[in-house]
């Protein structure tokens, strides 16, 4: 069976060399200049909080919000883990940007034929069994590529080996139902710009709660409306018939 891939990012090991971004830009044929934030030309970027570097990128959720909200299904969660985007389908409604709990998708605002841009977890390389470009380039092992199950186990081992150093949490293990990017850190995640209040169930459940009621609304509503129409219509018919009867009786009586 195909194992789901993931990346483990150990923030204590990151030295901020930016090799991940350089490798990413090369792999995705983007301009080589260094960028400090996610953009349409950088799928990953480093944030700095008092000497701690945090890699920002698409989290590749197990049940991706973007894939669920897209009206034309332009996003797909690949069995290997990456969430990929098909520009040929996209109509540009930007619901993915509005909905993404990590605010990752970027838009080509200056283009007249814009695309969404975000990390695709090197899905072509990954599907060939290769690691992602960024993890391969990382000189300190801060970004490690592997099977999600193995990486989770390793993360727990690291937390257990140095309980005083690490915050006892793996960010991405449970957030929005689990993601393919896992973080461990020595600094509380909320101080590093992470949203720590995200729900642990997948986000698409929220809209599904409403969408799943549609068949019920249609059948019950349709029957009800038809029933009401039938009754009111019948009432009208009876009324008209009685009126007619009444009128003919009257004219009949009048003649006599």
């Amino acid at each position: 069976m195909l194992k789901k891939k993931a990346m483990l990012i150990d923030l204590t090991l990151c030295v901020g060399c930016n090799a991940c971004q350089t490798a990413c830009k090369e792999a995705n044929h983007m301009p080589a200049d260094e960028e400090k934030a996610l953009s349409t030309t950088s799928y990953t970027a480093l944030d700095e909080y008092d000497g701690v570097f945090v890699r920002r990128m698409c989290q590749h959720c197990d049940d991706p919000t973007c894939a669920s909200v897209c009206p034309v299904g332009a996003f797909t969660k690949m069995p290997e883990g990456p969430v990929v985007y098909d520009v040929e389908k996209c109509i540009g409604c930007r619901y993915c940007m509005q909905a993404c709990p990590f605010q990752v998708p970027r838009y080509e605002w200056s283009s007249t034929y814009p695309r969404i841009q975000k990390c695709i977890m090197c899905h072509e390389r990954v599907s060939k069994g290769l690691p992602t470009a960024c993890s391969e380039a990382c000189p300190t092992g801060a970004t490690k590529f592997g099977d999600r199950d193995d990486l989770l186990k390793e993360a727990y081992e690291r937390l257990a080996a140095e309980p005083d150093k690490y915050v006892q949490k793996i960010y991405g293990e449970k957030e929005v139902g689990g993601t393919s990017i896992l973080y461990i850190s020595a600094v509380p995640f909320e101080n590093l710009g992470f949203h720590t209040t995200l729900q642990t169930t997948p986000m698409p459940q929220l809209t599904w709660n409403a969408l799943s009621k549609i068949p019920g609304v249609v059948t019950v509503g349709g029957t009800l409306l038809f029933g009401i129409w039938w009754i009111t219509n019948r009432r009208q018919e009876v009324k008209e018939y009685e009126q007619k009867l009444h009128d003919t009786n009257h004219s009949h009586n009048g003649k006599n």
Partner: protein, 397 residues
């Protein structure tokens, strides 16, 4: 300037000015992109074209299915004189929503993708299908007016034969669609300010749309009566106002219960921008018109009715804008103020709506002539003897 106004009339000059500005902005939008024409950004991807053109355009068209249900499903035929203009308002509303979407979508020429590329898990997919189907239904519902003009009696008969299934389909589609615009925002629980975010947004959107749709019927009747120098069906509008006030009441109670269930009542007194906007919206759109419309004296007064309806519509617009903009600014810590090009395109779309209504009503039998239809005659003649009528009519719905 004064001479210009007096020669062509104030509204015509204004409309032309708005259209010219809008056309320029249209050029900027399609030849330089969304970045050049809007103040949208990666942190704030949805602006007034979604908040106003789509959310409000659809909501304000809700009079169409409400009145269609009253007249054809509940068989309350005395409302027939105002059904045509109401269906027209709804139809134009939906067409303009599609026009608005063509501006907002990054790849508007791909809009048809939703027909063949399905994603039933997406609320936007549901919205897309409802817009397509309901616009078609509205076009069919309105078609007899056009066909009558060209005396195509056989085609009219064909349309009339499917009218009841059509009306039922229309009511169902509207129900789904009005509520699904609320469902769109269910996916952003952590981003939207909790005064507005609720699992019941679909229900709130539905209820408030019916109230606003009723208010639009009053608003539109009032304006047409002035534009076309015709009588006002005051007693019918009085009853519409009663449905409106009923829905406002239901809406207000649901909102209050929801706030208290979520233990968010304390937010109502926190000194924050969101709180002020919330109170502004509720006071203008719910509290004041509720008090006004419960007064029989105000409901039977033309000005009272009109002011009440304008307040409901204004409050409705504020609600949708608060959800789309105010409620989303805090979390993303962005301030979004629409660019002038965004404003001018929205104004152009609204102007197109008013102009289209005016010309269609002028050249097609939207307002049926008093002599041809007895009911109209009866009702417009009896405007001032309303008490007798009121005693006769059973309560609406």
């Amino acid at each position: 300037m004064k001479k210009l106004f007096s020669t062509f009339g104030f509204w015509k000059v204004t409309a032309v000015a708005i259209m010219l500005a809008g056309l320029y902005s249209t050029y900027v939008r399609f030849f330089q992109g969304l970045g050049a024409s809007t103040n949208l950004s990666d942190t704030f991807p949805w602006g007034i074209w979604i908040g106003f053109d789509v959310l409000c355009g659809v909501g304000l068209a809700a009079g169409g299915f409400t009145l269609a249900a009253i007249v054809y499903i509940f068989n309350i035929k005395r409302f027939e004189p105002i059904i045509r203009p109401t269906i027209l308002t709804a139809f134009l509303g939906y067409v303009l929503v599609i026009v608005g979407l063509m501006f907002d979508l990054g790849r508007p020429l791909q809009i048809w993708h939703a027909i063949i590329m399905w994603n039933p898990r997406s609320v936007m997919f549901e919205v897309a299908w409802c817009v397509m189907l309901y616009t078609t239904v509205l076009a069919l519902e309105f078609s007899p007016v056009i066909l009558e003009k060209f005396k195509m009696t056989r085609t009219i008969k064909m349309v009339k034969r499917i009218s009841i299934p059509l009306i039922i389909l229309g009511v169902l589609l509207s129900t789904l669609h009005q509520s699904s615009l609320g469902s769109l925002y269910l996916i952003v629980p952590e981003k939207m300010y909790p005064l507005w975010y609720s699992a019941y947004m679909p229900v709130f959107f539905y209820a408030s749309a019916i109230a606003a749709g009723c208010a639009m019927v009053i608003f539109e009747s009032f304006l047409s009566s002035r534009a076309f120098n015709r009588g006002l069906e005051l007693n019918l509008l009085n009853e519409i106002a009663r449905i409106c006030v009923l829905m406002l009441g239901v809406y207000a109670v649901m909102k209050a219960v929801d706030l208290s269930d979520r233990k968010m009542l304390s937010l109502l007194t926190v000194s924050r921008f969101e709180t002020y906007m919330y109170w502004f919206e509720v006071t203008v759109g719910v509290i004041i018109p509720f008090i006004m419309f419960t007064q029989h004296k105000i409901r039977k007064n033309t000005t009272g009715l009109f002011i009440g309806a304008v307040l409901v519509v204004a409050g409705f617009i504020m609600n949708r804008m608060n959800i789309a903009i105010t409620g989303m600014e805090g979390w993303t810590s962005t301030t979004y103020i629409p660019s002038w090009t965004e404003f001018s395109i929205t104004m152009m779309i609204v102007t197109m709506g008013f102009t289209a209504f005016y010309f269609i009503a002028k050249y097609f039998p939207v307002f049926v002539d008093d002599h041809e239809h007895e009911d109209v005659h009866k009702y417009s003649a009896n405007v001032y003897s309303m008490h007798d009528d009121l005693r006769k009519v059973s309560s609406p719905v």
